[in-house]
């Protein structure tokens, strides 16, 4: 039996492989309180999925947290706070709705078919060095640049601009992890200052000369809104969506390729029938969710699985554990593309269900398909080099050879 009250998801032993501990805890109780994290912990699929759709559980405002920490230490990270104010997943009603519909409009600018065609062109070009040189780093040279190039296409940026923006913003998503330092906030703010100047300039260009692209659409839709944002906030919103579009999607592409390439039998069947690839992407989302946990705050007193949760208390929704609950997925640790079962919790649910989930799945499917169409690569590493983060499941590097 593990002492539930002293459970802490930031424990060093839970970083690379938390699953044996999650598995034991999941059987001990459907929900439990931990003193060290001052939060309820939910690990089962049923409780996690119900919590996502429970409208009396609010999302936590990381912006407020970062603001409080920064003020106490004499800092004022203006651009970082602006970004967090635009981060949909930290907003609650009423500010959440208008922001979400603006982002939904942006993501729906092009048809799904033309998005898929754009991703295929990008993936086709990025994978070319594998056949030519006999090897490639599928993370750094493939999964990492693919989503920003797609987001750049959607926004109306050149490839160079999109890659520059991705490089400038790289490292900012680290601040989503609990346990970040004021150092991380400062460095994120510096990167954002640069990125936001660039985006304000691009928005100003579209203001002068509107084009048929995502940035122009943001401007015109914002102009029509009841309470339009100024261009500082609009630039921060563009920056947030760009980042949300590349960080976790790159993680998903890499995690999916890592899992698939280590199972040659599945590679063969999917190369023969690409319709099977969506099952592999879903299985990657399930086994290695790019975001491992999220937090909620109870707005009212309530009972969850016979426990009295009080208003104001925090809850940790352990996505990584819910996705491996044997009640939902038999033999849960096994990689089984195409398995049936309830929906994976990796995109959340309810009000905050990931708006770009369909794009992320589509990008990962296209990226996988392009790899399978060429000469078959083999993974060089024995173990995945996970980034040293508790909340984000993402590899640094995935070198492969033919």
């Amino acid at each position: 039996m593990i002492d539930l009250a002293s459970f802490n998801s930031l424990a060093p032993g839970l970083r690379d492989n938390p699953h044996p501990v999650y598995s034991a805890l999941r059987e001990q109780a459907p929900i439990f309180w931990t003193d060290t994290e001052q939060a309820w912990v939910l690990l089962r699929h049923r409780e996690v999925s119900e919590a996502f759709t429970n409208s009396s559980l609010l999302t936590l405002d990381l912006g407020q947290f970062v603001g409080d920490v920064s003020r106490a230490l004499g800092d004022n990270p203006v651009e970082l706070l602006r970004l967090l104010k635009m981060a949909l997943f930290f907003r609650n009603p009423p500010s959440h709705g208008p922001l979400r519909s603006l982002v939904a409009r942006l993501l729906a600018l092009r048809s799904q078919a033309s998005c898929a065609a754009a991703v295929q062109r990008i993936a086709h070009r990025l994978i070319a060095p594998l056949a030519r040189d006999g090897g490639i780093d599928l993370m750094r040279d493939y999964a990492d640049p693919l989503p920003p190039l797609f987001m750049g296409w959607l926004y109306g940026l050149s490839d160079d601009e999109a890659l520059w923006l991705a490089a400038t913003l790289a490292g900012v998503p680290v601040i989503l992890n609990r346990g970040c330092s004021i150092r991380d906030y400062r460095s994120a703010n510096l990167r954002l200052e640069e990125a936001h100047v660039f985006l304000r300039d691009r928005l100003a260009e579209r203001r002068r000369t509107p084009a048929d692209d995502g940035l122009s659409l943001l401007l015109s839709r914002n102009d029509e809104a009841d309470q339009p944002m100024d261009e500082y906030h609009l630039a921060a919103l563009a920056s947030f969506v760009f980042m949300a579009g590349f960080e976790t999607t790159a993680a998903l592409i890499g995690n999916g390729l890592w899992l698939l390439l280590r199972h040659p039998e599945h590679c063969d069947s999917m190369a023969a029938d690409p319709a099977l690839i969506s099952g592999a992407v879903n299985e990657a989302l399930r086994l290695e969710a790019p975001i491992q946990q999220v937090r909620r705050r109870a707005m009212t007193d309530q009972t969850i699985a016979d426990c009295q949760v009080k208003a104001g208390q925090h809850l940790i929704l352990m996505i990584a554990a819910a996705n491996r609950d044997p009640r939902a997925y038999p033999d849960p640790d096994r990689y089984l593309p195409g398995r049936t079962g309830p929906s994976v919790q990796s995109f959340g649910g309810g009000l905050h269900h990931c708006l770009g989930g369909w794009i992320a799945r589509m990008e990962a499917e296209m990226a996988t398909r392009e790899v399978l169409e060429g000469p078959r690569p083999h993974v060089v590493l024995e173990k995945p080099p996970w980034r040293p983060l508790h909340n984000q499941r993402r590899m640094n590097s995935l070198p492969v050879q033919i």
């Binding site: 930031l10 409080d68 920490v69 609990r178």
Partner: protein, 82 residues
């Protein structure tokens, strides 16, 4: 590498002034949440300690330990104090 007793004294003083309590009331085994420390305070403490000792300390350490004794043991295990 920092000295354990110096770091312990700094942490005790910092907590005492932050939480407006007598330093003598902050024992090695006092639980942070019982003396009123929240997660904002913990990350602030990490930042203040970094600046004071001019070193890099992962704020995770301050969030995954419940007492001064546990925190010091973790800092030691991570080679920050000797």
């Amino acid at each position: 590498m920092l000295k354990a007793d110096v770091v312990r004294a700094w942490i005790t003083d910092f907590l005492a002034s932050l939480l407006h309590v007598d330093p003598a009331d902050i024992k090695g085994d006092s639980r942070f949440n019982n003396i009123g420390l929240d997660s904002v305070d913990a990350v602030v403490m990490a930042g203040a300690m970094e600046e004071h000792f001019n070193t890099e300390i992962d704020a995770t350490l301050f969030l995954r330990n419940s007492t001064v004794d546990e925190l010091l043991a973790d800092l030691q295990a991570n080679g920050i104090i000797g």
